[in-house]
Amino acid sequence: MLCQICKVDKASVKITQVIDDKKIELNLCKSCAEKKGIDNPMTGLPQFVGNFMAELFGKEILQRSAKRSGIRCHHCGTSWENFKNTGLFGCDICYQVFEDDLKVILRRIHGSNQHIGSRPNSQRTRLDEAELERMKADLRKAIEQENFELAAELRDLVRNAERQFNKSDNDGILR
């Protein structure tokens, strides 16, 4: 097999990555592997991009979104077409512009499209959607367990939170 980078020399190093039950292989010759700095299993490994992107995101989803191909990010100019080719967005505003398509893709990549991890210090006192969802879940649980005292308390909290949430025109992106 020829090296997938130079397409001249015989491949002598194979790097495999197993993800989502799919095995992806990269076959390189010694000199290309060395040039790319990926001849050593102890160090960083190459990112699998390009064709791999389509596999990861699902071809049909990327195709289905083709009708949106005219849309560009008004801030950095990145189009859906650019994203399909590189797998990269150009700025944080892209996430607003392409939000609807992304929600589907993210569910496919991560099995979720809602962040529940840590947040910047400036955001730690502010309520977010994930927290509201957690409070609602606690409320449901309290009702199921017939702990009505706790449920009443939680209901008030959720109501207040929802009021607060609807008041702020929070589109999610910080500027």
């Binding site: 002598s12 190093v13 194979k14 790097i15 495999t16 990555q17 197993v18 993800i19 989502d20 039950d21 010694k30 060395e34 790319k36 700095g37 990926i38 001849d39 050593n40 299993p41 102890m42 160090t43 960083g44 490994l45 190459p46 990112q47 990861l56 801030h75 950095c76 990145t78 797998g87 990269l88 967005f89 150009g90 700025c91 944080d92 996430y95 992304l102 893709i105 993210l106 990549i109 991560h110 099995g111 979720s112 499209n113 809602q114 962040h115 529940i116 991890g117 840590s118 947040r119 910047p120 210090n121 400036s122 955001q123 977010d128 959607e129 994930a130 929070n170 999610g172 992106i173 910080l174």
Partner: protein
């Protein structure tokens, strides 16, 4: 790139002449190469990497040169105010020679993509070589911490502290829906990638690796292996890393990775015990042949030396080789890489010359 005035830096060295520091620090290994924990018989190191971007700047793939240079200055200022980053080296990657750049990859302080960067970029390296920050890789910031064995929690504590300190002077791009915003949506959410380097010689020898990988939850984690010609993996070293960054907390991902790494370690340990019950003479033969080759070879490639060093490491674990420590082997695995040899012998070598010098260097270190 303009330099910050020295008085602003408070202990941070200027990046004008790092190459002199490289020579001195060749043996100043990070903790992952000098310390061990109870999992070091299989796990070489654990790394946490956080991807962060800064509000108001386009991501590196879209930003102008001017924007990226301004961003570097902003990051330098923030680093100078962080107490965890005192005595840090700031390295202007663009000013380094090809081999100096590769050196940082072999050292696990930078990624292969980063050193090929054609845009203004900065590498921040902690004094202990366990912390580093790549500025303007795929994202504005890639913070990483490498710790020995399975000490992921220690890596998390350190990286969180650095992040908190930087945050006092930098506003990270964040949305309550998608979490930390990254150039590639595969990093979205926590932006956290945990990656564990694990040595599995016995599972490889017994051809059990494929079934081990098949049983892992590959929807959550990725397994990467290196193979030479044929089916044998190079150095029997594998990397496992988490795949999912959105919809899970950092804590749950870390716990899950520790759990998976422990399970793989148990399987490798069981395979090592089984060796004694089966064909131990065959394994002993491979280990001592590896030792013989390393002691006498006159020309050796980087890949062959990785394979043989892996067998020596197994020999140490099985108590067949007592004269060397596994830490010494881990260090040799780094020192025999091309850029390290260039630095040790201080000249520009061809690939063949390097193979000859590598054999010489190993012979000197294998006087058993």
């Amino acid at each position: 790139m303009s330099e910050i005035e020295p008085q602003d830096l408070k202990g941070i060295q200027s990046d004008s002449d790092y190459s002199s520091v490289v020579d001195e620090s060749l043996l100043n290994f990070g903790r992952w190469l000098t310390e061990e924990d109870e999992y070091s018989d299989t796990i070489i190191s654990s790394r946490i990497r956080l991807a962060r971007n800064i509000q108001g700047f386009a991501f590196p793939n879209k930003a102008t040169k001017r924007e990226l240079t301004d961003l570097i200055e902003k990051v330098k200022q923030a680093c100078s105010k962080s107490s965890s980053l005192k005595k840090t080296n700031l390295i202007n990657i663009g000013k380094l020679s090809k081999w100096d750049r590769k050196y940082f990859v072999e050292r696990r302080l930078a990624s292969p993509q980063f050193i090929e960067n054609k845009i203004p970029s900065l590498l921040v390296v902690g004094a202990q070589e366990n912390l580093s920050i790549m500025v303007n890789e795929e994202d504005h910031l890639r913070l990483q911490c490498v710790e020995p064995g399975l000490d992921i929690k220690q890596a998390w504590r350190k990286i969180s502290t650095v992040e908190d300190e930087l945050e006092e002077n930098l506003d990270f791009s964040y949305s309550s829906r998608f979490g930390y915003l990254t150039a590639c949506p595969t990093n979205l959410g926590t932006g956290m990638r945990v990656s564990i380097v694990i040595h599995l010689p016995c599972l490889s020898l017994q051809e059990k690796i494929d079934s081990v990988i098949r049983d892992l939850p590959t929807s959550e984690i990725a397994v990467r292996g290196f193979y030479g010609e044929g089916t044998e993996s190079i150095g029997n070293i594998f990397q496992i890393s988490n795949q999912l960054t959105l919809g899970r907390t950092e804590h749950s991902v870390i716990e899950r990775m520790i759990d998976i790494a422990k399970k793989i370690t148990e399987m490798e340990r069981a395979a090592r015990t089984n060796l004694f019950e089966s064909d131990i003479i065959k394994v002993e033969d491979s280990i001592f042949r590896a030792l013989g080759t390393l002691q006498h070879a006159r020309i050796i490639s980087s890949l062959e030396s990785m394979n043989l060093l892996s067998m020596i490491r197994l020999g140490i674990e099985l108590n067949l080789i007592k004269q060397m420590s596994r830490l010494a082997i881990n260090q040799l695995m780094v020192l025999v890489q091309p850029a390290h040899l260039q630095k040790i012998y201080k000249k520009d070598l061809s690939s063949r010359e390097r193979d000859i010098i590598r054999a010489e260097f190993i012979r000197q270190n294998f006087k058993l």
